[in-house]
Point group: C2
Chain length 340, copies 2
DNA sequence: TTAGTTTTTGAATACGTATTCATTCAAGAT
DNA sequence: ATCTTGAATGAATACGTATTCAAAAACTAA
């Protein structure tokens, strides 16, 4: 038998609570939505009734009326890279206390197309964070028209009308190059991520500029995919050529690990025979086989900025997209040969 | 001016589409909800109108009426462990094509309490997956009462009335122990995860049984936390004692990496001076410094089983909780000394 | 006391969809 | 032509909440 009390085993609603507490549904709502004035006496009664019925507000019904879902979508590439696992963890740590739920999406694509955000649109997320990838023009337009904020993390695109937070790769590459040259290196290789991404382009630009200034021309470029295997394979190629190479600059730490393992396998000692520099400063670098000199991305700060930007754009309708570059710094360990 | 057409910049609704197509809202709904019969002529008109207005169904409104949110919560510990990054990726790969959205939650707790699932309840997820942790009794009861399915991944609890999918640790430990004894080892250490978890208890049981059978009593147990640092430190302790140890069995690959690095640092060669066995078979083990012999968990199959179970319990009201053990197998690489 | 002010409250409504129910429509059988 | 049947449709309703509006209640000041 379905009585008023058990409602066929459905969860209690504000209506049920109202009935038990002897008030109207509106008053119950006022208690749980916060803000509005409710007399202490009734508030207490309502809270008691709610506890008795194990009442919890229904998020779907709520967002239907408030037009706020308090959900954010995150689309990640390369979640298996420890750098990005950390990114995800930190995003959750930041967003959860603000009451946002995080809808996780994995993608293997360099550019996120419309079909990949379709479900997030249906669910009316308030914002979308994209890490290590771009949004297609179509996707960006669609988001804009739907009034959904989007932010690129660790990538940016000039014409795209989309906010971004990234590590200043141009500056980083300049400083890395300067350091390497000062340490006496003359012939370089750069194992990058995919071509034509802001990350790769900026790093290449910064690195090249420094070399040009010093009249060094010896730079081999091998685009890769930010994976261990990609680094391993590129290094094998590089090191079995006739040409001697002083130093390999890697687009990510994971690439660098592949490079180091490949190099050691062919008999190169690091840093005596070959210097290696990474990028990211993932936690693993504290592990003994990989004392990698690298560029630390200010991960926590980058996430904080991203979340700030997200909130700002969610609240300020028509905010102008911003692109924020963050600095980072060189972490010197033990994979770059000292000056002779 | 707010006209019928632009509705103050809100997204188009089924009502808008209906109006433009010259049909009723009900018919529009029938087209998008699928199943029901609609004449080809009108269907075409509706789809055209929907495309013109960029209509997409509103998930919140839909779930309010269908009582299905098509959302699943996942609560993960140790997301930085590559094993669990992979787990997350695979869960997404499996669930996404089924139309489920994945709400990601991170937790550092061994036991998930009620407050950690509260938001997921408000959002009416249809199920909750918990990896590498348990649900508290209170949380389990609450979920049950709310009609939300919960499944433990890689843990189980006897009395908890909660489904689980895990790797048969008892069996695994038995086979590992057998292998190690046959290889001639006699003194052992086991660096486990946290005490009193099913994982640790089962492995210990299996390992001990085999040793007992062979009258070997030399087993030192050090509980840890499934981290590199935990393994590193435990190994340092173990190896600087007077007591000689043949072989260390590690609760996870990541622990084993810490152990190997610590051992090498103290001058032990692996496997000549010390054998090490891991658990999980994470991808990193293909990397050259860590040719770890380990137990492979059938990751893909475990996720598949978990998803199957999840769907089954979501659809069959009152399904009996099931606990599924999966087998896995030994992967022999190069960190266990061969029989003399 | 009374008039005026503020706070508290409930009835009614809207959010955007799926579904029920009754009605219309088209087609096939006689 | 009529009757029967099944498909196609629209009107109305429900899902569970927040919010508006007007009424009621509780204070304040005189």
């Amino acid at each position: 038998m379905v009585t008023k009390a058990n409602r066929g085993n459905r969860n209690a609603t504000s209506e049920d609570v109202a009935q038990l507490a002897g008030v109207s549904q509106a008053t119950v709502s006022r208690v749980f939505a916060g803000g509005a004035n409710v007399s202490e006496k009734k508030r207490k009664k309502i809270l008691d009734a709610a506890a008795a019925l194990e009442y919890k507000p229904n998020a779907q019904a709520r967002s239907l009326i408030t037009r706020k879902t308090m959900m954010v979508g995150i689309i990640m590439r390369n979640i298996r890279d420890p750098f990005y696992s950390a990114v995800l963890e930190i995003f959750h740590t930041r967003l959860s206390p603000l009451g946002y739920q995080l809808i996780f999406n994995n993608s293997e694509n360099e550019i996120i197309e419309e079909w990949e955000i379709a479900k997030l649109l249906e669910y009316n997320v308030e914002g979308i964070i994209v890490t290590d990838a771009l949004l297609s023009e179509g996707a960006t337009r669609k988001l804009k028209r739907s009034g959904i904020v989007s932010i690129l993390f660790n990538r940016y695109a000039e014409g795209l009308n989309c906010s971004a937070v990234y590590c200043d790769n141009y500056l980083a590459a300049q400083q890395i190059a300067t350091y390497l040259v000062e340490m006496g290196h003359r012939t370089f290789a750069f194992i990058s991520g995919p071509r034509n991404t802001s990350t790769t382009v900026d790093r290449l630009k910064g690195f090249r500029e420094v070399l040009l200034e010093r009249k060094i021309k010896d730079l081999t470029i091998i685009p890769g995919t930010y994976t261990y295997e990609s680094g391993f394979q590129a290094a094998q190629e590089l090191l079995t050529r006739n040409k001697k190479i002083d130093c390999i600059f890697c687009g990510s730490d994971i690439i660098a690990l592949g490079v180091m393992d490949a190099a050691r396998l062919v008999g190169f000692r690091i840093p005596e025979d070959l210097s290696v520099v990474g990028f990211d400063n993932i936690r693993m670098l504290g592990w003994t086989p990989y004392p990698l000199t690298t560029w630390e991305q200010p991960l926590e700060d980058m996430v904080t900025s991203t979340v700030d930007l997200l909130l700002k754009e969610i609240n300020e309708k028509n905010a102008v997209p911003r692109i924020i570059a963050m600095k980072g710094h060189l972490v010197i360990r033990n994979t770059v040969r000292k000056k002779k």
